[in-house]
Amino acid sequence: MNSPFRPRKRPDPAILEDHRPLLRLLERRGLIRGGLSLGALTMLTGCDVTRPRSVEDALLAMSRLNDSVQAWLFDPNKLAPTYPASMVLKPPKFNAYYDVTDVKPVNGADWRLELSGLITDKRPWTLPQINALPQRTEIIKHICVEGWDYIGEWTGVPLRTFLERVGADLQAKYVAFKTADDYPSSIDMATALHPQTLLATRYADDTLADPFGYPLRLRMSTKLGYKNPKWITAIEVTNTYPGGYWEKLGFPWFAGI
């Protein structure tokens, strides 16, 4: 059946031929390139952003712009909401880029935290040394980019305290992390110094369990879940953008909440 909206008198196909040279200029890629705007970019998320190159560059430039706006909006003194202990989910929710059966537990006795970059005292740390540092407990919400969340109780040394203790350059731009599960990550210095940013070693008043990052993981109240690396083995303070596992695949780097 013909559409009721089909015009009775159809245009002469010769019109198309008249404008052939003009139509040839309207190539698809040119259209995409020319049509890039904030609104258009949101419609492009279903495309393969790896090509054409110009589209990828434009999307990444927009993502970096978002990062800088978020960094500008970030208030280093504003605390995220905290919750009563009765709301803590025990055990917490597991997530990684692989299933739990592929978790490789870390031996806490052999484990060392290596330091590099703009840090005065680069001696590696053992677990008892880290546990002897001042501790802070935060009952905060873990919010995943996938859409789920839960409330967790995390205890550990504030990253600020640790960075001050090792003589890190607090004017540097980035704090980068390496992990035992090959999940590099990095954050901005302002977030690293936020009072609720912890190098967590305990959950719900118990030693961190293997699937959740034993012996040491990052927990921030101001960033999405994927920015919190588990099983941390090394920390670097740097001015060179370090990126991260998901960031390399196009996820936003700042990822603030």
Partner: protein, 171 residues
């Protein structure tokens, strides 16, 4: 705690209504969310035990974590698929005379009517944050299980601690 109203396909009504509103409001953002969600989890979680592997062996590989029985009761039980199909709620954890732990699940139903309890081994379950997944039985297999009758199995007290394996989200 009241159980949420459920729609025909099993998803709680509020969840469907909410997603519907979001769809209308920002379909472009939903597209983005769908894409990032798939990127976040390239491998599915909560896979059934491989052929020939016992449920106990499979559960032991999932880093069983201590959980209070009282915290498990009334939790939603879902299917380990991206659509997170609702299967029922945890009603009881019971111990058989031979010492095996089983979960009594209130299967299916609508508005609290039409559900029936079935018993599955605790090793067939995995924890997924606030919900429980059945990874060792398909929904069809669950529906074929006989209706649970207390018999000689003894319910565990809410303060008892049992161990349940973990899984990553199935999407």
């Amino acid at each position: 705690m009241t159980s949420p109203v459920r729609a025909g396909n099993g998803a709680p009504l509020w969840r469907r209504r909410e997603s519907g509103r979001r769809l209308v409001a920002a379909s472009a953002l939903l597209l983005l969310a769908a894409r990032t969600a798939s990127a976040q989890s390239p491998t599915p979680g909560g896979m059934p035990p491989p052929a020939g592997m016992s449920m106990a062996t499979s559960a032991a590989m999932r880093f069983p974590q201590p959980v209070r029985v009282g915290d498990l009761l009334r939790r939603d039980v879902i299917q380990p698929v991206a659509s997170q199909n609702f299967l029922g709620t945890v009603q009881q954890i019971v111990r058989d005379p031979d010492g095996a732990l089983a979960a009594v699940i209130n299967l299916g139903g609508f508005l609290g009517f039409g559900s029936r309890p079935v018993s599955v081994p605790v090793d067939a379950l995995v924890l997924l944050g606030q919900v429980v997944e059945v990874d060792a039985f398909t929904p069809a297999q669950l529906r074929q299980l006989p209706t649970y009758s207390p018999g000689s199995a003894a319910p565990l007290s809410p303060d008892a601690i049992i161990k349940v394996g973990l899984a990553k989200p199935s999407h």
